[in-house]
Amino acid sequence: METTDLIFRIVLIVVIFAISLVVAMYSTYAERKVAAFFQDRIGPNRAGPWGILQPLADGGKMFLKEEIIPTNATGFLFIVGPSLAILTACIGSAVIPWGSAIAIGGHTFDLQVTDINVGVLYIFGVVSLGVYGIMIGGWASNNKYSLLGAIRAASQNISYEISMGLSIIALLMLTGTLSLKEIAEQQHGFAWNVWRQPLGFILFLVCAFAETNRSPFDLPECETELVGGYHTEYSSMKLGFYLFAEYINMFISSAVMATLYWGGYNYPFMDNFAAWAGPNPAAIFGVVVLFGKIFFSIFFFMWVRWTIPRFRYDQLMDLGWKILIPLAIANIVLTGVISTLLK
């Protein structure tokens, strides 16, 4: 690896890390604003103009809160829990292609930290690690509510990972590759995968809601039943990490969804635009487009949260095992039959 390449990678890692943290930070603000608009309210508007400094105030508050570790908690694991949650949330962004290559001074740089040929598998691995943060935190709290929340999170994530994987398989049968970069490149222009895999996308979307513990699948932190769920005993920045991890997860899963189904950084008439404006501006515009897709997706997550009531636990399991998995398998069969017939 050349030195310039190495430097570019390091810069890219730092930038992506910063962006995901800032996006997560402002997602908390956006969540409150969006919730307010959906409920005919104004939302936070005291900290700075339109309340845009609210996340800083919230973060500052989180840092200054008293750090409580319960006497009967398992001290080490109690700290490992939120750390693992935020770590796994952050490393998922490594394989996402943020844009097509840009050329600076004769070098071409990929706007992707690393293009591993099993990118989809990597994402799945990281996502399934994410449940350990919740599980360890809930168990180490030594509290019934925390443990119940953690158990719910674990069984929910495991159940929905199956149908998520199955819904992806149908997509992979069409793309023929596991590398996210190649998948993004295949969707050049307007040939987005969602047109070929509408059912697969809906299945993936439902599973993404369940994997990020977002409403209507937010049973692990269901306030009316479990106080705070797995983070009942947490306070200060450790609680902040759990909440933050949820928003980073939302950002990453939106990015994955955009890359897999909504064409990633591709947009209609991109060749015409590239011919008119040059390759570098076109690539940068592609990044903007990708972020537009991601932000819309995050907005959709919030939109659903403030619309649909939470599922009951047996309904959740019914949906996961009896509906999503058969549908995903039917989708695989259907995809196989149609792609064979069309060949």
Partner: protein
């Protein structure tokens, strides 16, 4: 059992059809409902920058009135305190001295007049009881404060500003 009104409506519980069982159409309907609210004007009134319009007979903070010459009307008769159902009003009467004629209208006046705003229920019985038209609940909403003792309003807060000569 026969109902008294003889009205009855037989409810039929039909099994859900396929579209209803598929959840998704219902979810889309719900999403469109919330989206309609997204563009509605917020109903919030940002108090205290913005104030709701009060009705004409709104009863707010009390004020002790002065007459047309700027003398205090209150004679400390105690009828307001007697009429107060919440027992929020207390007062101490004093005799008007020579040279104070421009301050108080009658020979007797309230040296101390206190209303506990935490007790007051803003019923307006004091203003009805007052024979001298000295007290009216024509003020604003009582502002918030940190300590209980700060809600006991004395004459410094209650008496109207003196007339400008």
């Amino acid at each position: 059992m026969e109902s008294l009104s003889n009205k009855r409506k037989v409810l039929e519980v039909k099994p859900l059809n396929f579209l209803e069982r598929a959840y998704l159409p219902a979810i889309v309907g719900g999403l469109s409902t919330t989206m309609k609210h997204f563009f509605k004007k917020p109903v919030t009134i940002s108090y205290p920058e913005e104030k709701r319009e009060f009705s004409e007979n709104f009863r707010g903070m009390h004020s002790l009135k002065r007459d047309e010459n700027g003398k205090e009307r209150c004679t400390a008769c105690g009828l307001c305190a007697l009429s107060c159902p919440a027992e929020a009003i207390t007062m101490t009467a004093a005799e008007r001295q020579k040279g104070e004629e421009h301050l108080y209208r009658e020979e007797k006046y309230a040296a101390v007049y206190e209303i506990n705003m935490l007790r007051c229920i803003f019923c307006g019985l004091c203003e009805e009881a007052c024979p001298k038209e000295a007290i009216y609940l024509d003020g604003d909403i009582v502002p918030s404060d940190y300590l209980r003792k700060d809600f006991i309003y004395g004459k410094d807060k209650l008496v109207e500003a003196p007339l400008n000569q």
